[in-house]
Amino acid sequence: MTALTDDTLPVTPQAVRDEMVVFGLMALLLASVPFTGIYPFFVMQALCFALVACAFNLLIGYGGLLSFGHAMFLGTAGYCSAHALKVWGVPPELGILIGTAAAAVLGVITGYVSIRRQGIYFSMITLALSQLLYFIYLQTPFTHGEDGIQGIPQGHLFWIFDLSKPTVLYYVVLVGFLAGFLLIFRTINSPFGEVLKAIRENEPRAISLGYKTDQYKLLAFILSGTIAGFAGSLKVFVAQNASLTDVHWSMSGEIVLMTLVGGLGTVFGPVVGAFVIIAMQQYLASFGQWVQVIQGVIFVACVLLFRRGVIGELAHYLKRSL
């Protein structure tokens, strides 16, 4: 099996420093958005998807596991948060916690099943599992079927932050995104992350070195699912609804596409990819089904011509790790 990224650079203190600098720039840039007059709803939505794509990238880019069902975490956390907020009337912080916890539990169960097979089978299993959940959500009453859960109250986070104010909500989402991003960043550069990369490059060798690779993969899967779920819970406050679209396989495909466009196995690629894809959907919304066709074309073009993605190409050109 050939490696996904053909020019993985070793993690050096310099690489980590470079990445921290870029992280700082990104945080500054995002923090200044409310002063620029850019529609904050768009950026918030993109941030939620960027976090999901980063979580997905943790699995594919560093563990070599292509999950084609990450929408199930997004959707499950969304439904659970939405239900808790609207029906049980819990405060926002508890709603986020409930959604994230639900995604974590789902990650334990689906991870235990899906890491039993590798490569292509892993992708098919995750896809099938997310389709299973899709049908369950289609039929259970609490999700309200095709209508979804709508009109979710935003409330006050920690009794102080009024989430119905766009600017407050924006900074809450931004802090959530940055926290999730840092957690992933820390994981990639930890000994645990190094073992994951070893498994991606050569699993039999990692096993022969004494690593219980299944446990590593399971933990990575749970972590990825949990973070994706956290993003899904945040998204509930932005969109104020939770619907079947978030669990559908096409959503899983979009998450894959975002990461592919930005660059598989790059730290910042998924963020860039998410902004590109969400912006594209925003501007091309009037073209109807052609958006799907364009997404397909981007998939094909990325795989055939542009496998490193935007950030991957940039990193290759600068000979830096990004």
């Binding site: 109807g288 799907q292 094909v300």
Partner: protein, 295 residues
């Protein structure tokens, strides 16, 4: 009991489609090491091809059964020559991503022109032999009423599946194919044109999908998204059966169709999900799938 037999028949028909599609996936995976995500879209194109043949040029079902698989098979071969062949030597996952993109393009284009609703395609009413009006009508078997077309789909699919099995496991061409799956470089050294064989194999797999599409057109109507959800179920079938054996794919396909049919009778709420639940159970008990080879 009538309802039970009817659901069993529906199950057998779905099983026919699962078998034809998973067979094609297995054949393609064997030679190209690619999971063909576009399989559902190509199945849909088969059905649309039959629809166009009838509505534009008046060519009926029986010719469509021959022409559609060849036409879509050629389309598949063009895809292989222009795109898939460049993925040789890369990670398997790129094949999945590329074919997913192709599926999005094809489904998007068709949805754009035909919406999401179904186009009707009539069961053929010719040739007329005695009381028989082609494949229309039905026979009373005593314990149930059998619509002729549905019986035909099951039997014809079974014949095609077994013919494919025979082609691959029992003929000289099949022997080359199996050898090239094991060791393409060596087979090439013997003077066999392996790249051409790969193209033909992809065409064969795609042709089987298109054939399934034509067969399903009179039953399920012709819809742009008819293959999108089906392909995910077929993936689960493939995970359950494993792609190691041709006969394994055929048997698993039919068996799961029947189980799904039985579920529709005994516990309809679970009929959408039963195949996925079975997949989970099989993975827990025997992670390599029923027919065994680890990937």
């Amino acid at each position: 009991m009538q309802a039970l037999y009817a659901q069993l028949l529906v199950g057998l028909i779905n099983g026919s489609f699962y078998a034809l599609l998973s067979l094609g996936l297995a054949v393609i995976f064997g030679m190209l090491n690619i999971i063909n995500f576009a399989h559902g879209a190509l199945y849909m194109m088969g059905a649309f091809c039959a629809y166009f043949l009838l509505s534009l040029s008046g060519i009926g079902y029986w010719w469509a059964l021959l022409i559609a698989p060849i036409a879509i098979g050629i389309f598949g071969m063009v895809l292989e020559r222009t795109m898939l062949q460049w993925l040789t030597g890369l990670d398997h996952l790129y094949g999945l991503l590329l074919t997913f993109g192709i599926a999005l393009i094809v489904q998007g284009v068709f949805q754009n022109y035909f919406g999401s609703s179904g186009l009707p395609y009539a069961i053929p009413d010719y040739p007329k032999v005695g009381d028989w009006n082609g494949l229309q009508g039905g026979i009373n078997l005593g314990f149930m009423f059998l619509p002729i077309y549905r019986g035909w789909v099951v039997i014809f699919s079974l014949v095609v599946c077994i013919a494919t099995w025979f082609l691959i496991e029992r003929t000289r061409l099949g022997a080359y194919l199996r050898a090239a799956t094991e060791n393409p470089t060596l087979v090439r050294a013997f003077g066999v044109n392996v790249p051409r064989m790969i193209t033909l194999t992809y065409g064969l797999g795609v042709g089987l999908a298109a054939l399934a599409g034509v067969l399903s057109a009179p039953i399920n109507q012709v819809r742009p998204l008819m293959g999108a959800d089906l392909i995910i179920v077929v993936f689960a079938v493939v995970v359950i059966g494993g792609m190691g054996s041709i006969m394994g794919s055929i048997i698993t396909g039919f068996a799961l169709g029947v189980i799904e049919g039985l579920t529709k009778y005994f516990y309809p709420e679970a009929s959408n999900t039963v195949v996925f639940v079975l997949m989970v159970l099989v993975l827990l008990v025997k992670p390599t799938g029923l027919t065994g080879k680890a990937a």
